[in-house]
Symmetry: C2
Subunit: 298 residues, 2 copies
């Protein structure tokens, strides 16, 4: 049994989940803190891991699955640093600033790549060569893994901002994205749903017409992910995707938009195994952060 | 000097380019044949390479950059086999059926991945870690290379069929894609332009309004490629892209749709180095096929 300790951070727009785990995944300590500026959050991170290390022993590696935009290129001198973001205080903040004091290697990837990795190792993505994990919540983002390694180009992907076909007669809401207005995130993320209808889909009782509208927007990302990545499976998580009926409606809308063009054994007739919710639920992120940390262990 | 011979095939929807080259890229023999059924084309392929080998020496490897859909997974038992296609005779046809007689290893990739590789080795994609090559011609397709290796999931990508935001008041043309109607290919490929306006953009004299319409459709793919792959550069080739003014209009439309969201040194202010025409022009494909063959040399 590997008794080394991993410090794991799942950093989301609303909250941080912090955990100390054994290399085998056993969680020894866990806490949640509200996301504020790094000046406010980082001391809480340090205090938690210092306390956990004092109780359970030194930390051998850190794994971080974080909101972005953030430099996730291990070859970059700015690895682990937030790039330009409107979130107050976060531009230029770096996980290493708070974690270097522990003298352990640090692996940083996006929150969605972390969740994808959690699902790939222990959840709905097991056995997939290419796996796409998308969250639709406060924002929209996707991580794509190939053989368990997250794909990136000059930066991590930003799938929330794809252009969307929108019928203004059906949906007069102009979208809330400060850059694009009615991109996918601007139309289908949590703030768009509340901005348009005053409540979340679940609070509204998941009415069929609203579920179908959001499903068709998310389906346009699903189709783009298929055509530009050909993943073996697609997992859709995040708060918005919890609305009853949204995953089945997403399968239907994706199938309608594909129109039979892609024929492959991966795409089962009703897409029921192809498009799924996360098997680990809200634990996907921290499970993935632990897995990221495991990769830093020699 | 490596004196071994490579047989190279660039297979397009209209024509095949066949070449015999030295491993260093020097072309010894080259011909073009019209694309017909494999029963008609394959004997021409065999005859060309038999003649070329008789003149220049045995062939040590084959490189094929082909139209699809085709199995390009080297681990698959059906590697090099066309999958379901409406093209008469091509479903189930396999390059190995005609090339195995030469007793040389065969590398097969898509035509666009081949062109991307040609540009990466000798053209506009040199030095790019992640490179996207898109053709807009009879059809639309993209190859994405990372460190010179083409990316794929369970199959090669099919970027021509992405959903597109279309304003029917501005463009009443319903699209010609038999699966999706007004997907990108259905609206912007050569047949869509001739179907809508009777002539190609170049024949029409590249009028600004028509150039802008097509540029905005192609820009939606450009934006999706950025957000889902973050390439260091994007090359746009194919017959449609040769229309004067289309590449500059594509840069402008892509920039308008990005709306400043992606900040990276790769994206220069006017996208002039980020979005380019192929430096090798029509030679990108056969150059890439030779490069594919080179990879099969021990």
């Amino acid at each position: 049994m590997d008794q080394r300790n991993i410090g794991a951070i799942e950093a989301g727009g609303t909250k941080f989940v912090l955990a100390l785990a054994r290399a085998d995944g056993t969680v020894l300590a866990e806490t949640r803190i509200a996301t504020r500026s790094p000046a406010e959050c980082f001391p809480d991170l340090a205090a938690f891991f210092e306390q956990a290390a004092a109780t359970h022993g030194a930390i051998s590696a850190f794994g971080v699955g974080s909101f972005g935009p953030i430099d996730i290129d291990p070859a970059s001198p700015a690895y682990g640093t937030f790039t330009t973001t409107p979130k107050p205080g976060w531009s230029g903040a770096r996980y290493h600033d708070v974690l270097d004091r522990f003298g352990a290697p640090i692996v940083v990837d996006t929150d969605v790549a972390g969740a994808a990795l959690g699902e790939w190792e222990k959840g709905a993505g097991q056995g997939c060569r290419t796996l796409a994990y998308t969250t639709v919540g406060t924002g929209v983002g996707s991580g794509v893994l190939q053989d368990g390694k997250s794909l990136m180009g000059f930066s991590h992907f930003e799938t929330g901002h794809i252009p969307i076909a929108r019928d203004p007669a059906r949906d007069p809401y102009a979208g809330f994205c400060p850059f694009h207005g009615d991109c996918l995130e601007g139309l289908a993320a949590g703030p768009a749903i509340k901005g348009r209808w005053g409540q979340s889909l679940s609070e509204l009782g998941s009415p069929a017409d609203k579920i179908e509208l959001i499903a068709d927007y998310v389906a346009q990302l699903a189709v783009n992910l298929i055509l530009l990545h050909m993943p073996d499976r697609m997992i859709f998580g995040g708060g918005v995707m919890k609305a009853p009926g949204l995953i089945p409606a997403l399968r239907k809308a994706t199938q309608a938009r594909l129109a039979g063009y892609i024929k492959a054994p991966q795409l089962d007739p009703g897409l029921e195994s192809y498009i799924t919710a996360p098997a680990l639920g809200d634990e996907a992120g921290i499970t993935g952060a632990i897995a990221l940390g495991r990769r830093a262990l020699a």
